[in-house]
């Protein structure tokens, strides 16, 4: 049953909301049209003038301290090339990997595309999950399959091999490296039981070689 509005409510309704000012309306319009993030020439010029004043560098002692803490971490130049500390190269392969041992030049390795490996090893659907569990020797049927889920994923560079130098266009020599990775997925069920799947994978990296 509709209620009779009080006089106060009627007075409130009679009060019209204030109209937004021109600048605010222009801003709303620009947002709606996707232009609000476009800067005017004047704004860009002022930004450039500000940018001419450079931020101060971090103190030298702090830089040294940071480098000591992070200098041995892999440095990704791009998605496929990673520089890493020579001393962290896998020791079993060192005797064979001439490239890593001669001169103090940058060690480079291809970074395995995580997604690719994960997509192959970690099933994204229930069907795929069952396939992996069923493929595990000793898996015990439906209950086993349905409760195992990927718990962790790891990738190790287990071996590197220098395949020598090839010559490509413009007489530029390139060194070929063969990298062996072992991708490992750990599956875990509700009871805490785990099993691991390992799969070796090879990648070849071609790097421009310096000529003395």
């Amino acid at each position: 049953m509709p209620r009779i509005p009080s006089i106060f409510e009627q007075e409130l309704r009679n009060a019209s909301p204030a109209v937004p000012d021109e600048a605010f309306l222009a801003r709303l319009t620009a947002c709606a049209e996707g232009r609000h993030t476009e800067l005017s020439e004047e704004e860009m010029e002022f930004g450039e003038l500000l940018r001419a004043t450079k931020p101060r560098d971090i103190p030298a002692a702090m830089k040294d301290s940071l480098l000591a803490a992070i200098g041995d971490a892999p440095f990704a130049i791009d998605e496929k090339i990673v520089l890493f500390n020579r001393s962290t190269a896998p020791s079993p392969g060192r005797a064979k990997t001439r490239w890593f041992n001669h001169r103090n030049i940058a060690a480079a390795a291809a970074v395995a595309l995580f997604g690719g490996g994960a997509a192959l090893l970690i099933p994204g659907t229930d069907g795929g999950n069952k396939q992996t569990a069923a493929g595990y020797p000793g898996s015990g049927g439906g209950a086993f399959e349905s409760h195992f889920a990927p718990a962790s994923y790891g990738r190790n560079l287990s071996e590197t091999k220098d395949e020598g130098v090839i010559w490509r266009g413009k007489n530029q020599p390139h060194r070929v490296l063969r990298l062996k990775y072992v991708d490992k997925v750990t599956m875990k069920n509700d009871k805490g039981e785990t099993f691991e799947v390992e799969r070796p994978r090879f990648e070849y990296v071609i790097i421009p070689e310096k000529v003395d």
Binding site: L50, T53, P55, L67, G71, D72, P74, D78, L83
Partner: protein
Amino acid sequence: MSANEAPATNSPAASAWRDWLAEHAPKLFLFARNQTRTHEDAQDVLQDAIVKLVGKIRSGEFVGGQDSWQPYLYTTIRRLAIDLSRKNDRRKRREDHVSADIEAEQLEAFHPWFDSEGSDGEVRSQLENALKILPEKFSEVIIMKVWGERTFAQLGEALGISQNTAASRYRYGLEALKRELSSARRKGDLSI
């Protein structure tokens, strides 16, 4: 370490990190300065953020390439600065830190935000003061946009706001900065 092993600081990775720091650390540090109260806090926050990033890279947890490092670092610096500020506030409630704050402010004068190369001292000083006066929500956007060279979309992501809000704050901030600097410009002290 055996004779064959290069020290970590001479490794290709260390050299690359050194170059990366030379290019990016100043602007990240400026942002850290803006987010914290003191020079020392800014150092701690920046160092923690970089060490966190590297920890994630080492463990393979970090998703994305080098392009994703800076967005991660801006977000982490901001989060760490907020955490630190809360800790400091709690401590301040327990202790009388008035004299320590005054001392910290005096020490700040010895740690200017901007480099002495490329601009005169008056410009640096006026700009630093103007940024300090600005409300943080404007100054952080200006610092990330102007010196961090982030897009509005990246700003929005790092600050948890829409890119339109980031653009609005940037414009407000620029206007406010212009006003702050205008008197100095009128006097001819500033070239900006």
